[in-house]
């Protein structure tokens, strides 16, 4: 096994890349803000957080008020503070950037304010007076959490079904560990739960039953042979190495699950399976049970390379690799001395930097085209450079070689010569984008576009009555903050559809209906 760095060093490498501001820093930085009117930063933020307003509140030491402004427009404001590509969004638009080439550090100020709430147990919003209606949400990522928050504030009974052992979607399983930890993500999930939102984990929603169905609930066990991954994410543990918080753990957690009545408890032997996917809910049942359904199921598995040798030991997809890193079980995270990551998007960057930070001696990013074509943000690329990553441009992987285990990656030079050569390496990470959820949507009878993204109409409803969708599964894969906004707008749309009443939440003015501006675009 590859020798990793000493534990202390790894911990250091994965400590927050943008540390929490000190009070002194927050004071100076917040006072630098000009308090722009109709502020460019607010316009640039996909959830349209009233940035000058929250920054001014930080300046006046009204941190709870600042956090309220943030969470009011963006229920995952704490995640976004850490993971948003601010250079391309709010900070990129900040007038201080134009003025003195030093934008206000909006992301870090946002973290300063939200942390005040996520770590203090303070409550900001209350659940609305129950209105007797219920909404089922599939997927507990940014889109699902956001939608759930607003619906709960309106008085809906909200239940989220999540196939993973922990809630949070990619906030919990995908964000580079040096940006945010699972603990950070779960603290935000807890805020959503504090509104009475029920999160049923380890429970996938599927077209129909697969396994021993319990007739009265429609809920059965999920068989892992079904093509869904779910086996390799064993033993998901939180930062301290303890079993993760019971509130977001599955039915097998020692404390009795609050949703046990809904779930068939299929007891298997190993503790390992206690944390893996094993229950399902039929989509049709959900539709029957709830007044509306919101689908925030994100994207699917990583695309395959479709080249020989892909099944060799040592070949892993980026998402699985990152998931393993995020358990902070450094010892067992897969690694080799020399690692080749295929792809050049933001996920590829997350993979190379984290492999390097674990202790790989040589990490390469292999891309079929040149620097000018990469889809990763400039600052992400700079980070990879700073981490000492090597870049192999104009190289198309044609095969992975090895005897049981990866020994080399065979590439073709895309410089017209078509020359083939091998890059010796002990591990290959695939980061060439994720599949869309077309097959799943097809199985439940929803229309998708030619790329496999579920179609929604001008009122954010899918082709099926009272079934709504938003986030990566609709936009094809953008940022967490976009999914959050989609969840908010869907909540408004659901409320309007069910009650006829139009509501608007912070940062949603006039955006309820789909506009041309929201034309979907692929990021991979």
């Amino acid at each position: 096994m590859t020798k990793k760095l000493p534990k202390d060093q790894i911990e250091k490498n994965f400590s927050p890349i943008d540390p929490l501001m000190t009070k002194a820093e927050a004071k100076v930085e917040s006072n630098r803000c000009l308090f722009c009117y109709d502020a460019p930063c607010t316009r640039a933020c996909p959830t349209h957080i009233d940035v000058p307003s929250f920054i001014r509140k930080i300046a006046t030491d009204n941190l709870k008020g600042a956090a309220r402004v943030i969470f009011d427009a963006n229920p995952i404001g704490s995640t976004c503070a850490r993971v948003c590509p601010v250079e391309a969004l709010c900070e990129g638009a900040c007038v201080e950037k134009t003025l003195v080439e030093k934008p206000i550090e909006i992301g870090r100020l946002q973290r300063y304010a939200t942390e005040h709430v996520t770590t203090s147990g303070k409550h900001i919003f209350e659940a609305g007076e129950p209105n007797g209606m219920s909404v089922a949400i599939v997927g507990s990522g940014p889109a699902g959490l956001s939608c759930a928050t607003y619906l709960a504030r309106l008085g809906y009974k909200v239940t989220i079904y999540e196939k993973k052992p922990l809630a949070g979607g990619l906030d919990t399983y995908g964000m580079a560990e040096y940006k945010m930890t699972q603990k950070d993500s779960l603290a935000e999930v807890a805020l959503v739960e504090s509104l009475g939102v029920e999160i049923v984990v380890n429970t996938a929603v599927a077209a129909e039953e697969t396994g021993d169905r319990r007739p009265e609930t429609g809920i059965g066990t999920w068989s892992a042979s079904d093509g869904h991954r779910g086996s390799q994410e064993s033993e998901i543990r939180n930062q301290d190495g303890d079993a993760a918080q019971s509130s977001v753990l599955g039915p097998q957690s020692s404390s009795a699950p609050h949703h046990s009545s809904l779930i068939t408890h299929h007891s298997e032997d190993a503790q390992y399976s206690a944390l893996s996917t094993q229950h399902f809910v039929s989509f049709e049942d959900l539709c029957e049970r709830a007044d509306a359904v919101f689908l925030g199921i994100g994207l699917g598995d990583t695309n395959d390379l479709n080249i020989p040798g892909e099944d060799l030991e040592g070949v892993i997809d980026a998402l699985s690799f990152i998931e393993r890193v995020k358990t902070r079980d450094w010892e067992s995270a897969p690694l080799a001395d020399t690692v080749a990551v295929i792809g050049a998007g933001n996920t590829a960057i997350d993979a190379v930097t984290q492999a390097k930070r674990l202790g790989a001696k040589k990490v390469m990013m292999v891309y079929r085209r040149g620097r000018e074509h990469i889809s990763a943000y400039d600052y992400e690329y700079d980070l990879a450079k700073k981490d000492g990553i090597e870049f192999v441009w104009h190289a198309s992987p044609v095969g992975i070689e090895g005897n049981g285990r990866v020994e080399a990656l065979r590439c073709r030079r895309n410089d017209g010569s078509d020359e083939e050569y091998t890059i010796p390496c002990g591990m290959v990470i695939k980061a060439i984008g994720q599949q869309k959820q077309g097959a799943f949507f097809g199985s439940i009878g929803l229309e998708t576009d030619e790329k496999g993204r579920v179609k929604i109409d001008i009122n954010r409803m899918t082709s099926r009555e009272n079934v709504f969708a938003g986030g990566d599964c609709v936009n094809g894969g953008k940022e967490a903050v976009d999914a959050s906004q989609a969840g908010k707008l869907a909540a408004m749309a659901i409320h309007e559809k069910l009650t006829g009443e139009t509501v608007s939440f912070a940062g949603a003015g006039g955006l309820l209906r789909i506009s041309r501006r929201e034309e979907r675009e692929d990021t991979d």
Partner: protein, 414 residues
């Protein structure tokens, strides 16, 4: 290199920068360090019957991230024995013959007491005397300080007492805590003062601790009003200095005090009629070392303006100060925005919209970007947008000259 030397009411000094009577001039070793740093003169911390001070005694107001834009104190006059102060003044003057050493005085309203302290200060070698008629707290409760400065008759009387025995120039330091600064100033002139200095501190309560609900500074659960100084008081001091500079009955030199921290501040006081300046808070904040840039900056300014000596700018702006009634009603300016310098903060728009005359619209340009545009017909030329704009040289106030003859309110109303 311009000539920075001054001769203030007969007291020569290597430059116009003096330390005001306050903690930075508390004792000999401090004043000596100040002279070493470059201060031209110092007004010794006020002498009188030694008192007992309280603790704590200072409080400040911050603005945003800027600390101490205003300072408040409830300190009294010197708490050191008179003979110790006198001995140190003597030694200091011996060691620094070229620097101006003025001694500030305050005793009870008693002719003999004043005669006595004047003689003692002169005996110690003081180049001049400053009568502290300004302390607004504590001492005023004992009938001294502002209690004298607020009653023109007392100001005149005590000044006369001092002048009966004084052989060195006498400066009367005025309190700003009056409705019209001209009255005490004229009274001091009548009493025979050789010069005036102003302002002393302004009555103030600095704020309240929101946890204990006790105002600052907290002295065992209670607070008293104090004296306000520092950058925030500069405009008030400038007004009072310029009023006296315009007053024909006040024909004696003025030492400008109040909120001076930079050479620009000092230059403004000089232009509005101060013969020199005194500094306290800025030194309490940053130390004696600030005098280096005060001297350097003023010198460069004079050189750039081609002015040979500092005395040439004293009072230069006084003729430019007039009563409102004399201002030209036909003079018109409007705001003009240079979009190439605009950073699109929209502060001008909202300021004009909510705080002025609703004449800056946000208009989409051909390239799709939205910029503020002034409706010049509606603009009244108030300056607000120009004042809030953070981008240098972006908004300018431009004269609209329609050829009309100047006319003032006074002319219109005979």
């Amino acid at each position: 290199m311009a000539d920075l030397t001054t001769n203030f009411a007969g007291i020569p000094s290597p430059n116009p920068f003096w330390l005001a009577s306050a903690p930075p001039t508390n004792m000999g070793s401090m004043v000596e360090r100040a002279f070493d740093a470059g201060w031209g003169g110092a007004v010794w911390k006020t002498l009188g019957e030694p008192i007992r001070n309280v603790s704590s005694r200072l409080a400040a107001i911050d603005h945003g991230a800027q600390r101490m834009i205003g300072l408040n104190n409830i300190e009294l006059i010197t708490d050191r024995p008179l003979d110790v102060n006198l001995k140190e003044i003597y030694d200091c003057k011996k060691k620094y013959p070229k620097n101006a050493l003025v001694v500030s005085l305050m005793v009870e309203s008693n002719r003999e007491a004043w005669h006595e302290i004047v003689k003692q200060a002169e005996g110690a070698g003081a180049d001049g005397l400053e009568l502290n008629f300004g302390c607004p707290h504590g001492m005023s409760e004992r009938g001294m300080g502002a209690a004298m400065g607020q009653v023109p008759e007392y100001t005149c009387m005590v000044t006369e007492w001092v002048k009966e025995v004084a052989t060195v120039p006498v400066i009367v330091k005025l309190t700003p805590n009056v409705t019209d600064i001209n009255y005490p100033a004229e009274a001091a002139v009548k009493g025979g003062a050789d010069a005036l200095s102003l302002i002393n501190t302004i009555n103030s309560v600095m704020g309240v601790d929101l946890d204990s609900m006790v105002p600052h500074p907290n002295v065992n659960g209670k607070a008293a009003h104090g004296g306000y100084c520092g950058p925030a008081v500069k405009p008030i001091a400038l007004n009072m200095v310029s009023e006296l500079a315009r007053n024909e009955k006040v024909n004696i030199p003025i030492s400008g005090i109040g909120g001076i921290s930079t050479w620009q501040d000092a230059a403004e006081f000089l232009l509005l009629g101060a013969g020199n300046v005194q500094v306290c808070t800025a030194v309490m904040h940053y130390g004696y070392r600030i005098v280096e840039d005060l001297i350097d900056g003023l010198n460069n300014y004079l050189d750039e303006k081609g002015i040979a000596s500092v005395s040439e700018i004293v009072g230069r702006s006084v003729p430019r100060v007039t009563d409102w009634g004399n201002l030209d009603l036909n003079y018109e300016v409007v705001a003009r925005i240079d979009h190439s310098k605009c950073v699109q903060c929209n502060l001008c728009h909202i300021a004009c919209e909510d705080g002025a005359h609703q004449c800056i619209d946000l208009v989409k340009q051909d390239d799709g970007r939205v910029f503020p545009v002034v409706d010049e017909e509606e603009c009244v030329g108030c300056n607000l947008c120009y004042l809030v704009c953070p981008a240098p040289d972006c908004i300018s106030m431009v004269r609209i000259d329609d050829g009309k003859e100047p006319v003032s309110w006074r002319e219109l109303n005979g």
